[in-house]
Assembly symmetry: C2
């Protein structure tokens, strides 16, 4: 059986794979700050080239380069595309990291560092799966394309333009999305969709300089203005109050609701991980799953105004700002939601509150009935020796719609992460075991897809 | 006329006075950060001792020392007490200072630096007025006491205890309070009262660590909790919603309302200084004056949560905090208001919001009919050659009630500042002209008080 040989190869060379991942983690690539972007793109391109891909960096004015790699199969006319991103979230708050945020420290069976799990582990595991085929058989079972972008963590502002200009280059029969992993029970998780996201900054200015707070009866306070404006955006029952916000929200189908019952939401473990006594509104069970996957949200990511140091300061601040993100579900459109937000804020009387959009992606979904979903699900069942959990959509976001909706092929997300990976938080990590199993899964998908019908 | 000789002396030695003020400004004394406190107390005590005062530093457990000075008059049984403070506000934001915040730069007829106007200029002017009498006549016309505390800018948390333990030492027939100056027209301003203040920090915690904002449907967001709690504290019409907040508010008497009409609120100049097109709620005229002096307030001084750097970060923060101050008017009590705030926050359903009091003072007032008010008003009219403006109360706060209510003597506030002094803001300054005239006024008050009847 040819996969057995591949898997033996993967096990034999796992130390090399870890070394390559550590190298990639050690290279900071914080898109929010423009830190280390080009160095990281070079590194990813080199990794692809070293395996045998023909590569290029696709530039986009004002954006970070997209690393593209292609390796033709002599065996099959099918093409599988891997979508990944080499950028990472900011590492702050730095003091909360046990090891340096970009140390790539290997400790207790885990690789630590910002990006270890999201998304550098997945990049390396996929490249290594391809490499294994080449090493053992000298060819890949299907044509493989890599699209590795550098702006996912800031909402992929330039990827739409890149995809629009490279539809032929990126054309494929199926796409494996960037993320995924196992749950607390060790079952692989497969995601068929993503929420959209709209990131916004609201800003308000008052006096031209900070004033003594004794002047409060006469001087407008931009912090209060923002507080009141925000209180008009969402109520204490988490209902978003923007007029027309829920207009186009697609309710889950009966088939999808059925799938929900198979999804094990590991409530107690999630609560323990986050130090929570209960979920928001004491939600649990199917209601919690439904909320997580089908509720659009409005989250305060940050708020800053005035004096926030030790002690007190009787100051009336001159400005205030809040960062928000909206998670959107099918079929909400970020551009429309932004327009509604701006109009709602004005209508509520906050002409002095300025809204600035800082990124967006649309929601998207692949039907559970698509044959490629079965290919992935069966491969996962084999590698992990247990039934995978299929999510009709993920609560997270990404530019999946550019591939799913624009290029038309099915998009399925699976990866090598785990539930304690701490993505977007201090002490992000990836287990070595997850990393190696994920590499085997990618090899299995490459193999099985070449034999599959349908796609 | 003995005052003429005193005033000539003050003019002749004005350069020395400026030098002493610059020395004092150069010594940072930020009570909110505990920066330079003891060094500054030493400096003030030395200045008093050098003039001839018997001095001491009154320690108070956990607090900054109160500098006390006393100089007996051989001429009169009357005692005048000067209340001042040697501590200053934090200097942030530092980049907005034209000269260093503690440079004491003299430029264009002004002395620049944090504390130049609030309150170090007043400390020096008062000491110099006493010195002038000693130099010219060898005695002071009345017994003079100085109480110079080091915690005024953080709400004087230990002064109550110091006054309580030193009632005999601090006993006096009249008190001159720490601040005052001229308005845009050059008329001296006299204040007969102060608002109270209550400083509070509200804190809320959510998950034990920052979470990915995709989890927003399940994870409570402490930032939203604080926003909603704040929106229950004050509405968009600036009405404070805390139950019973306005219960004990004393309405201005007919006599006080009469005084309001004589107060020239320099609306256009204030607006220009603060870069405002209009005051809050487009208030103006008597309504604006009444609001400024008689309205209790609730001000957001600072708010911090989550990621506030460049770009966006899809994070759900683990904690949020807001700093607030309440300005209180006669006869509100900070302890009662704090109790009502805590109970209101709980009653509104925010059991997860913790309120921490970080300082408070009560409101206080001296009646306009008190004979000492006339002494000060007449002296001011003579020095500035124009009718002073008498405020029944100031919109600012301080621990005046400890002297007015506890020690029982009349308390009047006059000083050497000016309307562009930028107290509590970058580029704080004092005009040399105001400083010297203020010194003459203090000498005149010392002189006239010794002859006055009543007190």
């Amino acid at each position: 059986m040819r996969l057995d040989e591949i898997h033996s190869h993967i096990e034999r060379y796992s130390q090399n794979f870890i070394k390559d991942l550590v190298t990639l983690v050690k290279q900071p690539s914080v898109s929010a700050k423009g830190e280390g972007i080009h160095e990281c793109a070079e590194l990813v391109e080199k990794m692809l080239r070293d395996v045998g891909f023909s590569t290029q960096q696709i530039p986009e004015k004002g954006g970070n380069p997209v690393v593209y790699g292609e390796l033709e199969s002599s065996n099959s006319k099918k093409t599988l595309l891997f979508y990944n991103h080499y950028d990472v979230q900011p590492a702050e708050p730095l003091p909360e990291w046990q090891f340096g945020a970009f140390s790539g420290e290997v400790h207790d069976g885990k690789i630590y560092g910002r990006g270890a799990s999201d998304n550098k582990g997945n990049i390396v595991s996929r490249i290594k799966a391809v490499e294994a085929f080449l090493k053992i058989f000298g060819y890949v079972p299907v044509t493989v394309k890599f699209v590795v972008e550098g702006e996912e963590e800031i909402g992929s502002p330039h990827l739409a333009s890149v995809v629009r200009q490279n539809k032929d280059l990126f054309s494929n029969d199926a796409t494996i999305w960037e993320f995924g992993g196992t749950n607390h029970e060790g079952c692989p998780e497969i995601y068929l969709g993503l929420k959209g996201v709209l990131s916004v900054e609201l800003r308000c200015k008052g006096a031209s300089r900070d004033a003594h707070s004794a002047n409060a009866p006469l001087v407008p306070n931009p912090a209060w203005r923002l507080i009141w404006a925000l209180s008009k955006l969402k109520d204490e029952e988490e209902r978003i109050l923007i007029e027309g916000f829920y207009d186009n929200v697609e309710k889950p189908s009966a088939e999808e609701l059925q799938m929900l019952s198979c999804i094990p939401l590991e409530e107690e473990k999630i609560k323990k991980t986050l130090g929570l006594r209960e979920f928001l509104g004491n939600t649990s069970g199917t209601k919690a799953k439904k909320a997580l996957l089908y509720d659009p949200t409005c989250t305060i990511n940050g708020f800053l105004t005035g004096y926030t140091g030790p002690g007190s300061k009787t100051v009336l601040p001159k400005e205030a700002m809040v960062k928000l993100d909206f998670r959107l579900v099918a079929n909400q459109r970020p551009t429309e939601i932004f327009r509604k937000l701006v109009s709602h804020v004005k209508k509520c009387g906050f002409e002095d509150v300025q809204a600035v959009q800082s990124g967006s992606t649309e929601p998207s979904k692949t039907p559970v009935t698509d044959p490629f979903v079965e290919v992935v699900a069966k491969a996962a069942a084999r590698i992990y020796e247990t039934k995978p959990v299929i999510y009709p959509t993920s609560p997270a976001s990404g530019p999946m719609h550019l591939f799913r909706n624009w290029l038309g092929s099915p998009v399925v997300s699976v990866g090598c992460s785990h539930p304690e990976a701490k993505g977007h938080a201090p002490n992000e990590n990836l287990t070595i075991d997850g990393f190696i199993k994920g590499t085997k899964l990618m090899a299995a998908i490459l193999n099985d897809f070449s034999y599959s019908e349908g796609a």
